[in-house]
């Protein structure tokens, strides 16, 4: 028997099947978000079940999370991604005390309690300048792929200072920096630092280590180093960071 966790995010739908007996992950999958979110999720689930040799009767419970969680009509219940990421990270990093999750549209900082419970959380409020969207903007503007950003930032000698809180104005700043001859490496480093600084601001005083970085942006090279510098402590990337939300949902479904 499996429990199912569906993370219907703003950019992608992720599903994790969890064996309710052994609590091991049986299968996981991802598909780009799009029109007809429920159908997309359903198709992905069906595909994962078939490949695992499972049928509908093998599912005990489905928990949906993420931005579009209320659109998943086959979910038995919904839980916010805050709680789910906390549970998911706790499963793969039981010692984690702080979780940073940067997604495409928002970012979160969670302080964990016992058993992966959430003691409190902060979310960025105003603008995509603290999210993965900003990385997409800079990658697009510089004509590079997202996975090329890390090496560029690593080469930076003098990260640029980006002051705007709004991504529209921040893009103007990037254009300005390019026109004044600032190296793309320094611009990328500046953008990564800008995102990391906003996360650090959410953390307040005294970040409690260990810090685990999860979510889609965690797989963008260099962001972990930028976070370490801003937070002033080591940051580790969760294994399969895109799936911690879905994993947490599956864990909650199995509870």
């Amino acid at each position: 028997m499996v429990s199912v966790g569906v993370d219907a995010g703003s950019r992608a739908i992720k599903i994790v099947l969890l064996d309710t007996g052994s609590r091991e992950v049986v299968a996981s999958g991802i598909v780009a978000q799009g029109v007809g979110c429920n159908d997309l999720a359903n198709d992905l689930l069906r595909d994962l079940m078939e490949r695992s040799g499972l049928g509908p009767g093998d599912v005990t419970r489905v928990v949906a999370t993420g931005y579009a969680r209320n659109m998943i009509d086959f979910a038995d219940t919904t839980v916010t991604e805050i709680t789910c990421h906390a549970r998911g990270v706790h499963r793969v990093a039981p010692n984690a005390a702080t979780v940073v999750e940067i997604g495409g549209q928002d970012s979160k900082l969670l302080r964990l309690g016992p058993g992966g419970s959430v003691r409190d959380f902060s979310m960025n409020d105003r603008c995509a300048a603290g999210t993965g969207r900003f990385l997409e903007v800079v990658a697009d503007r510089l004509g590079v792929a997202l996975d090329g950003l890390g090496p560029m930032a690593a080469r930076s000698q003098r990260p640029a200072s980006i002051s705007s809180t709004c991504i529209v104005f921040a893009e103007t700043e990037i254009i300005g920096l390019l026109s004044t001859g600032t190296s793309p490496d320094d611009i990328v480093a500046g953008v990564q630092n800008s995102i990391a600084i906003r996360i650090a601001a959410m953390a307040g005083r005294g970040v409690v280590a260990p810090v685990v970085f999860t979510g889609g942006v965690a797989i963008v090279p260099g962001m972990d180093r930028a976070l370490e510098s801003a937070l002033g402590c080591p940051v580790s990337i969760a294994p399969n960071p895109q799936f911690t939300g879905a994993l947490g949902a599956a864990i909650m479904a199995a509870a």
């Binding site: 200072s161 002051s163 300005g176």
Partner: protein, 460 residues
């Protein structure tokens, strides 16, 4: 014989310094090459600025950049430190009238992020305390109190509140919440007297009802009592009168310097040095007597240049009236790079540039001056003052720089801009200047150049 003055880089200052030393330049104890502030103090922004090349300007910069040393020295000598927050120019006059007291302006920490190019980490600390970029760059002050790396914790903190600005009030309250007791004193919103009220003339041309002056005076009496308690000696009228005279001496020097700089056919002193010079009026950069000497030398240099018919900029430079101080000093260079020159300023403390009345009891004189604070009145009042000065100095355009996060800027710009346009017919542009404006330089340059081009076209 006066040579052709120039604006030079820090690298060029290395040569210029050697040249001036060779000519027998006598420096104060805090003197030395500018570069040492980069090497020892981490003031890396200095590498990107351009400076006036006179010995007087060197002294000005060294005076500014050694304030932290002076404050530590004062603490080591067991002098009492008063941190006067928000009120720009009143409490320091009182504090310096007391024996063994040094006043300074913790808000001045707002320039540290620029000067140290964010390496001091003050903004990060402020953000961690809940004061993010939606707040004015003065939030750096809280970071400075936390690190204690820039000034010693004062023996007493005062803060004016009421008709000030919410940013500062909130930032100061956060500071108090961190364990720094503050003596809060109220400045009411200045209003015009009602028909049945006695009107009192304030410096700067404003009026207020007598009851408001009396109230502010009573508030300043509380501050005076606290300073007296701190210093262990009652602060009497004679000492206060002497303090007012000393402050006015500085204000007179500055007034003459401003008039020269703004009206001479060729600009004798660059905008950046003029900005720093005006700031000295607020709290004398922690040494009132030395501030007078520094400004006196700057004035002498400006006079000499005007007499010799030379200037740092050509006669064709467009005369721009500047409203609000900038968080990034580099922008003052940018004005001149674009073909402008500073011709009038309203840096939020115009009242600290006016003479404090010496024909009144000192506390009443200080109360009248405090109530003349541009922030205490309406935006229209501020605009009136700016219009008067712009007309007096012969400004050809007005530039309003917004301070990111400062709530008053969201309201005032439109009011001031509209009034200037309708009354003086001058072109107006608004720009926003964050502490590090490097990324915005092209945008800022475009706006300033457009303003300059507009004026040049009108001239023709």
């Amino acid at each position: 014989m006066i040579g052709q003055p120039q604006r030079i880089t820090l690298d060029e200052w290395d040569f210029r310094y050697a040249e001036l030393c060779g000519q027998g330049m006598v420096e104060p104890s805090y003197g030395g090459p500018l570069r040492r502030h980069v090497d020892d103090g981490g003031d890396t922004r200095l590498l990107r600025l351009r400076y006036d090349d006179s010995a007087a300007a060197l002294r000005l910069w060294n005076f500014l950049l050694t304030e932290e040393d002076r404050l530590r020295e004062a603490r080591a000598q067991e002098k009492l430190l008063v941190g006067a927050m928000k009120d720009l120019g009143t409490v320091p006059v009182m504090a310096y009238s007391a024996p063994n007291v040094v006043a300074f302006y913790p808000d001045g920490a707002w320039w540290i992020p620029c000067v140290m190019e964010m390496n001091a980490g003050l903004m990060s600390i402020a953000s961690s305390l809940g004061l993010d970029e939606t707040f004015c760059p003065v939030r750096a002050m809280v970071g400075a109190f936390v690190t204690q790396a820039h000034f010693p914790i004062p023996d007493m903190l005062t803060c004016s509140v009421g008709a000030t600005c919410d940013d500062f009030s909130a930032i100061a309250q956060r500071l108090e919440g961190l364990g720094h007791p503050i003596l809060w004193w109220e400045i009411p919103g200045r209003r015009k007297p009602d028909p049945d009220e006695r009107a009192i003339a304030l410096p700067g041309g404003f009026e207020a009802p007598a009851c408001q002056v009396e109230f502010v005076q009573s508030e300043l009496e509380r501050v005076k009592a606290a300073i007296s308690d701190l210093s262990g000696a009652p602060l009497g009228d004679e000492a206060l009168c002497e303090g007012i005279r000393a402050a006015n001496h500085i204000r007179r020097i500055l007034s003459e310097l401003r008039t020269l700089a703004f009206t001479a056919p060729k600009c004798p002193m660059p905008a950046l040095e003029m900005l720093i010079a005006e700031m000295l009026a607020i709290h004398f950069c922690s040494d009132r007597d030395e501030a007078a000497v520094v400004l006196g030398e700057l004035l002498d240099e400006a006079r000499a240049r005007v007499e010799a018919g030379v200037g740092v900029l050509g006669a064709e430079a467009v005369r721009v009236f500047w409203v609000n101080p900038v968080a990034d000093l580099r922008v003052m260079n940018l004005l001149e790079d674009c073909g402008g020159r500073i011709c009038g300023t309203e840096y939020l403390f115009a009242h600290a540039l006016d003479a404090i009345p010496e024909d009144l009891p000192p506390m009443e004189a200080l109360a009248r001056m405090a109530l003349a604070d541009p922030m205490a009145g309406s935006s229209a009042d501020r605009a009136e003052r700016a219009i008067g000065d712009a007309g007096r100095f012969g400004s050809e355009a007005v530039l309003i720089s917004r301070i990111p996060g400062a709530s008053h800027c969201a309201y005032e710009g439109a009011v001031i801009g509209e009034m200037v346009k309708s009354r003086l017919g001058l072109p107006v542009v608004e720009v926003e200047v964050p502490p590090i404006a490097d990324a915005l330089m092209p945008t800022l340059r475009t706006r300033i150049e457009a303003l300059i081009e507009t004026v040049l076209a009108w001239r023709n």
